[in-house]
Symmetry: D2
Subunit: 287 residues, 4 copies
């Protein structure tokens, strides 16, 4: 790899100092560099300014500087370019960034020598089913959440897997998570951890009114359908579907939501095969 | 007891049929009856129409017809009158209603003979602390919930008990519940069941980001303080405090919220000392 | 299918009445029948008495009469014959039996017409690692549990996945479960439900001392290693490994336990593709 | 306070070095010292050797050196003497020890000046009910656990509170815990934290087979009865009742176990009113 595009989070990379550091290093190491125009101007490296399509079509790797949110956002934006991402963490300890800021340059020197892995991370397609037509809403790397935004949070929904009825739920909402997202909202809501290299999904109800509700883990081939049709009376047009905690859409009570494995996946660069459990131990504590 | 006020939920008591049934029975049994003017007109019993203060000051008992929500609402409204409540259930199985519709008259005949208990249920005062002055927001029979209404639900807060720092939390919100409310939202969020005849309170975080968060049970003498002061950046004016899931107030990030045992309590009429566990078994299932 | 072996649970099939009923039906329908000698004698059908190897090598299907325990036991015993099992439930509602007693004959008439599916269920090999040599202890259809039998239950262990260290645990024990076993002990210990048609496994600690412990779901290709090496002082020779809750073995504190997908699997006959969720709803209740 | 008895854990206080340090300090500060004969001999301070009754009847305070287990044991042993305990921690971070070893002397200098609190900790009486006669088995400061010691752990039992039936359970066992014990086994089994200065108790099932089982918090006035009568078939004489994880007794399936607030309580010396939450934060982590 020697063609890099850099995507910094402007709030997290103060004065773009880390961006500059990496640009300098890449220059010294004879790498090709692409920067969004705005960033190139800001650090006075206009020679590296690229158009979006140039940037992503020609690069070998996107270096994303920020926290887990920045990387989630980049992963969804880069889907169509199939570009591997190296996450450099500028926030709190996260699950998606491969390296801490202080180790960014030493990791880059491994990467340009070819000493790295590309880990594929399963993504989920979320579609709205209207009059038997499926309409793609988006693709999630972490999770898809259906919940209400009003104070009265309780909603009713039915879950189907491959058209077989699983159960009816009364809950604050529902999370359908990828392995990557299993350590995010799914974990807060009581769900299990899924090793992120695997291809599975997990359905976790949020604050279920019925105590007997548990997370259900499905294979990548299963198709989940969520139907909201029992909420007629209390429907308030405040039910939202949220992708990766970042993109939200109103849904109608007549909508059925279809969630399934995407044929696209995110590609994360890592130098450390067991990195996930190392982060997990740090996050969760080690007894 | 022979002076009764009747408070029906107009949506649940269709055509006020149960109200009429009870009025007829009370008439036959020489009881005094008070009805809100609107109800008296509707069922054409204007002779029982009372003003609110007359109604509540002179009655021995309020017969509340509806579900748990109707009774919660009545209990808060009746606080200043210290009037015992008989809940007649017109909804799904609930925890607060003493009798099902079909058993209402047989229960009333016990009650007019004095064959009943009055169970005191602890309530919680919730106050806003502004510039060291405490301002009473309301009184809860079930619970006080602090949460956000936006899609991004995560909030940070600190809990203090009697001014000692308990912990910082990152969570979707927090519930402070009475024993009565312990089987409501608290249970959905993973909290324990508190026998409702007791005087205690329980703090339960909603979807805590930190796995080590558990419910904490306090005595009635403990004072809980919740401080939101760490949310500066992400503050969106969408944080709400909700009482019994029914009354909501915006709170400011500089507010501190004080929750403590109220010197007032709700009085529920029951004929069955172990009724709570009987309902619990029905609700939760019996193995 | 028309060659059947029948394996009844003698305590559950009182006087072998269900066995007789099925034998009669199979006779009338021109099926070949094999019975263990003891059973053939008991019901006076010596003509169907078979040796074990004859029985299992020549049959198309084993009809197992009993509860989940009976079927688990049969599944492990039949591993080497690769024989599909039809479970007829004579106990409480179970997850493994395909039909209730009253529906046994109507299900058999579907089966002899070819109207059925064979569902493969993943099994787990459990091996002891002694001086770098792996020694197969057994094969589990439900789960492998490591725990102590004394009153002082707490034990320490380390988990590795594919030789990467996951975490150290202090807990009452550990469960490694197949999808089939996920609704058994794993569920009691707080683990998630895994759709049994999938190939995954789940590690769930039993009463972990460390609150941050959660179930971890792995793919069928992952290899789990459990090491007990930190228990020197408190070791009491009371640590056991148990397969499907039925077979137990003492383990030594120097042992390392290796758990991985077995190349063998159980084959369960079903006429109902969504049967699992139907049973789950009955077991867990439907809101 | 100036009369101290010292109770060291011989395995944790290596060569009794901390004991010697404290004895020296108490001598210099003109305190009266009592030591068990064995300890007095070991450190060659025979002049402080006391008989058990002398020791406990005349002292103002027992200094207990060890971990939580040592203090639990001492608390039960000292019940009849009503002697306050100062716990000096020689183990891992614990909930019962007031001070770490390094702070023992500075804490003692506060205590001899009267600068301390005595915190009463509720204890639980556990009785066996045989032919309607109650037989006291023991008194617990942490918890009472009923469980089986065999590999097949599942047992059935019924819980009654004040003779009202709560529910039937299928589980690995049951914990009835004091507030002090709520952070021990109760927490591992999913129970809530009870502020230890309160007088309450909590019932927590261990790995309940029925998902709808939750912890139930009772007041100090409630009497819990546990009945095992449904286990006829599978009874194996392996069911044990364990007090504070330290004392075990076999129980018979015809036994009913009665658990109630003891009129005795443990007295723990503390210099820090909010010490509990400080320890909790250290133990559980702070986000």
């Amino acid at each position: 790899m020697n063609k890099f595009v850099i995507i910094p989070n402007l709030t997290k990379d103060k004065k773009l100092e880390t961006t500059k550091l990496i640009v300098d290093w890449l220059e010294k190491n004879d790498c090709k560099i692409c920067l969004p125009a705005q960033i190139a101007n800001y650090i006075n490296k206009q020679q590296y300014s690229c158009s979006e399509s140039d940037m992503y079509n020609n690069a070998d790797c996107a270096i994303v500087l920020g926290g887990d949110g920045t990387i989630l956002n980049a992963a969804r934006n880069l889907i169509k370019y199939d570009l591997p991402i190296l996450g450099v963490n500028l926030g709190n300890l996260g699950f998606l960034a491969e390296v801490e800021k202080k180790d960014a340059l030493s990791t880059l020197s491994k990467i340009i020598k070819g000493d790295y892995y590309v880990q594929r991370r399963m993504m989920l397609d979320v579609k709205r089913l209207i009059n038997d037509k499926e309409d793609l809403i988006g693709v999630a790397l972490n999770d898809i959440v259906i919940a209400r935004t009003s104070i009265s949070r309780m909603m009713k929904y039915s879950i189907y897997v491959n058209d077989g009825h699983v159960n009816n739920y009364s809950a604050d909402g529902i999370i359908v998570s990828t392995p990557t997202g299993s350590t995010a909202y799914n974990l807060s809501a009581g769900g299990p951890i899924l090793d992120p290299k695997n291809e599975m999904m997990v359905i976790t109800p949020i604050c279920p009114h019925t105590l007997m509700s548990r997370s259900i883990v499905l294979s990548k081939n299963d198709v989940v359908k969520i139907s909201l049709e029992n909420n007629r009376k209390s429907w308030n047009d405040d039910t939202m579907i949220t992708i990766d905690g970042q993109e939200s859409f109103n849904i109608d009570q007549k909508d059925k939501i279809i969630i399934s494995n995407s044929y696209k996946s995110a590609k994360l660069i890592t130098c450390n095969k067991n990195g996930f459990y190392t982060i997990l131990k740090k996050k969760l504590g080690n007894c």
